[in-house]
């Protein structure tokens, strides 16, 4: 049966949602910058990592 603990954790999860959306988007922004951005400078700096991690490159 769902106990008080689990319903409480559900509530706190809902309250956490804006924070978690922000942290996930911030993480996505970092990965985008290192792995996807078309800028020459970012591409050249992260070149070997992009290839090694299988990001589409060039």
């Amino acid at each position: 049966m769902p106990s008080a603990v689990s319903s409480q954790s559900l509530t706190s999860r809902a309250a956490l949602l804006p924070t978690l959306i922000f942290t996930a988007l911030f993480g996505a922004f970092l990965v985008y910058g290192a792995g996807f951005a078309h800028s020459n400078v970012l591409h050249n700096a992260a070149h070997d990592s992009r290839h090694a991690l299988g990001f589409p490159c060039h």
């Binding site: 400078v41 090694a52 299988g54």
Partner: protein, 251 residues
């Protein structure tokens, strides 16, 4: 809470990213450098390149030449400041590879921890490892089925098309795995399975012709090495994220 999430993600991301950088220096970067020798050689023969470029959207890549990337989105704000800067081969290039690995690690750790906090029943090293394996499946295994990791010098379809397919596949696989693993409802599990399969039915964008001068043996070795590196990186990232989070639980 925000500080704790950032702290745990930074710790796990740095450790996994540095391990990834070390593995890259040992296993994949030597293959990339070898491939660049062939890449430069093929660029010296423009006839081949033009024949390919004329046939379809396929293009030959030329890393570290600067000029080859002008068409890829033009010069943005950063490029107007730094121009065609690229790190010097050797220590500088290794340092930037390490930096970008750590940034990718930090970024993926933030995303992984966010979804774990949202969906995980418990958070520790072993559950983190499972979520990390899920991350590996979503952003390495599934995209590699359509777009295998490539060495410089290969012909490939339009970059934006490949990036779009890659992102779509990673998102669909992540969501599909989550539906299968966490939902009781059979219908949701089946939709999860469909999400796993759909990107591969749609198919990844491919060039119609193969124009790489890089030996296939080198390419094969690189694909295997890349997937192994990714697997180690995600296993470390997931378990460290879970472990660091659990360590902070009692405080």
């Amino acid at each position: 809470m925000l500080t704790r999430i950032f702290g745990v993600a930074l710790g796990a991301g740095c450790a996994a990213g540095l391990a990834l950088a070390l593995l890259q220096a040992m296993f994949t970067t030597p293959l990339i450098l070898q491939a660049e020798v062939f890449e430069t050689a093929s660029h010296a023969q423009p006839l081949v390149q033009h024949a390919v470029a004329g046939e379809d959207e396929a293009r030959l890549w030329l890393a570290h030449s600067g000029a080859a990337h002008d068409e890829d989105g033009g010069h943005g704000f950063l490029d107007s400041i730094f121009g065609d800067w690229a790190p010097e081969d050797g220590l500088e290039r290794t340092a930037y590879t390490a930096l970008s690995s750590v940034l990718v690690g930090f970024g993926y750790a933030l995303m992984l921890l966010s979804v774990m906090l949202l969906g995980a029943k418990k958070l520790d090293a072993s559950s983190g490892l499972l979520w990390g394996i899920g991350g590996f499946a979503a952003v390495s295994l599934a995209p590699a089925l359509g777009l295998p990791p490539e060495l410089p010098g290969s012909a490939a379809a339009d970059l934006l098309a490949r990036q779009t397919w890659w992102l779509g596949t990673a998102a669909a696989t992540g969501l599909g795995l989550w539906l299968i693993a966490s939902r009781e409802n059979a219908g949701l599990k089946v939709s999860g399975l469909l999400l796993l399969i759909a990107p591969h039915l749609i198919g990844a964008p491919h060039p119609h012709e193969y124009a790489s001068r890089v030996p296939a043996e080198l390419q094969g070795h690189f694909v295997a090495a890349s997937l192994v590196l990714s697997a180690v990186f995600w296993a470390l990232l997931g378990s460290l994220t879970g472990w660091l989070w659990q360590r902070g639980e009692g405080r």
